[in-house]
């Protein structure tokens, strides 16, 4: 070994010792938790439940939004033309509509065709024949260009079309999808609120657990301070304990929410069959799960940080 290499190793030694110390503290704090398995588990379970609740709601809602996006793409505006409009005039209007930027495609359903369809499918065939005259107007089905980022655009289009003199009524076939959409948005906001509140609860649970832990070990902390431990040194095992709580709570929350989504999936499958949809309920994606766990770790760390930094300064040897 050359001299400079030896020097470098000597200089690196305290640095290495520092990280080894971190690792040891990390593992030691895990060992400490395993010494009180019941209370550790209970804290973990509280964290997990608090996180699993909004997570499951989020997953369920995410699925619903996907469904509604699917419907949204097939949204149609039906233009019921005035009764006096002839098929020729209707075709002229159609040609004009095709030029609109916001319109993807148009399709004319002449009133004769509509009547025949209706007779076939409704079972009112005879009654309609008795009427003698076709009561149905020509209808133009407009498929709008969907801009997800601007859901109000479609409303604007409907209004515009409704004001055309040839048009009696412009109607979005899937108006209720829009309402669902709005409700989902409210639900999303609600979930955020709940997440924030429950996240705060996790922060407090971890903080309080660590606070009690510190209280129980006051004497020990005083002794270690007397030997020359810095606050950072004393803080470390408590922070790691908080981290472990966060990690285990996050993992358990993931499992719980996957389990809940699994339970829901059965009934959703049946529902999907009814609507001849091949829709499948999915849980959190891997990235979402990692976000959940990362967030949970952060809450654990932050909670213990709050508890430790507030208390350590007060515990001084006397």
């Amino acid at each position: 070994m050359s001299r400079s290499e030896a020097n470098r190793q000597a200089r690196n030694a305290p640095f290495k010792a520092y990280w080894i110390h971190h690792l040891r503290t990390l593992i030691a704090s895990l060992g400490m938790l395993s010494r009180h398995p019941l209370s550790s588990f209970m804290t973990t379970a509280v964290i997990a439940i608090a996180l699993a609740l909004p997570t499951t709601m989020y997953a369920a809602l995410n699925n619903l939004s996907q469904v509604s996006i699917g419907w949204d793409n097939s949204a149609q505006i039906s233009l019921f033309l005035r009764p006096e409009i002839t098929e020729k005039q209707a075709r002229a209007l159609m040609a004009k509509l095709k030029l609109y930027d916001d319109i993807d495609s148009v399709k004319l359903i002449p009133k004769d065709l509509a009547l025949r369809e209706f007779q076939k499918t409704s079972g009112f065939g005879e009654a309609l024949e008795q009427l003698g005259k076709n009561p149905l107007p020509h209808v133009i089905e407009v498929k709008p260009v969907i801009d997800q980022s601007r859901p109000d655009k479609i409303n604007h289009l409907i209004k515009q079309l409704g004001q055309l003199k040839q048009v009696d009524l412009a109607q979005l076939d899937l108006q209720w999808v829009k309402r669902l959409y709005a409700m989902l948005e409210i639900a999303h906001k609600g979930i955020w609120m709940i997440s924030i509140l429950l996240g705060l609860a996790v922060l407090l649970v971890v903080g309080n657990t660590i606070r009690l832990d510190i209280q129980n070990r006051q004497e020990e902390i005083k002794v270690i301070k007397l030997i020359g431990a810095t606050n950072a040194f004393i803080r470390r095992p408590f922070l790691y304990t908080g981290f472990w709580y966060g990690l285990s709570g996050g993992l358990l929350a993931w499992i719980l929410s996957a389990f809940s989504v699994g339970l829901l999936a059965d009934s959703v499958d049946r529902l999907a069959l009814l609507y001849t949809s091949d829709f499948q309920l999915s849980g959190l994606s891997f990235a979402e799960a990692m976000t959940l766990i990362g967030f949970s770790c952060f809450l654990g760390l932050a909670g213990s940080w709050l508890a430790v930094s507030r208390q350590l300064n007060d515990i001084e040897p006397s």
Binding site: A13, P14, K16, A17, Y18, I20, H21, E220, K222, V223, I224, K225, L226, I227, G228, A229, T230, N231, F233, E316, P317, S318
Partner: protein, 228 residues
Amino acid sequence: MIRFDNVSKRYPGGHEALTNVSFHLPRGQMAYLTGHSGAGKSTLLKLIALIERPTRGNLLLDGVNLSQVSNHKVPYVRRNIGIIFQNHHLLYDRSVFDNVAMPLIIAGYQHREIGKRVRAALDQVGLLSKEKCEPITLSGGEQQRVGIARAIVHKPPLLLADEPTGNLDPELSRDIMQLFERFNQVGVTVLIASHDLDLIQQMGKPVISLSQGMLVHNDLQEVADVTL
């Protein structure tokens, strides 16, 4: 090593525990601190270890004015002091080895180095065979010696002991005092508070006496005169 310069300490309650105390304990010197109960012995040691701060006067430790040491620097000052308490202050949830290793872990020593030094310290206090024991299973004298091993394991230049022989029988007390003398012989500065006057006289080291917070007797004056 330690210089008190007109130091007074008034506790928040209003009681003045030390009044205008001045003395100088040179580096490598060993001395005893005596006085009646409540005379201010513990208070004096606490000022050196920065557990309390002086109300008035200057206190220099190894040339550093302790009133200028900010709170977050306090741990680094304490690492240069080995402190021994009457009631051991051991950590009862870990082994003797782990207790003694604590100052080294705090200072960031490497694992292999820690093992070597801890065993050397335990060997010096005659407890090498007990390294794996829980402190609670040891006798009072043995626990006190674990506390001493912990105080000297990182080889601090200064040892402070507050009634280190408080609960021990006379023979054991003398053993422990002799242990301190051995550390002093290798250059460690030692200051021991004790009210066991018989024992102190036997040891034949300089004595500082406090009475009601005032310095009433100071052998170190002569020591200083001789060394100057």
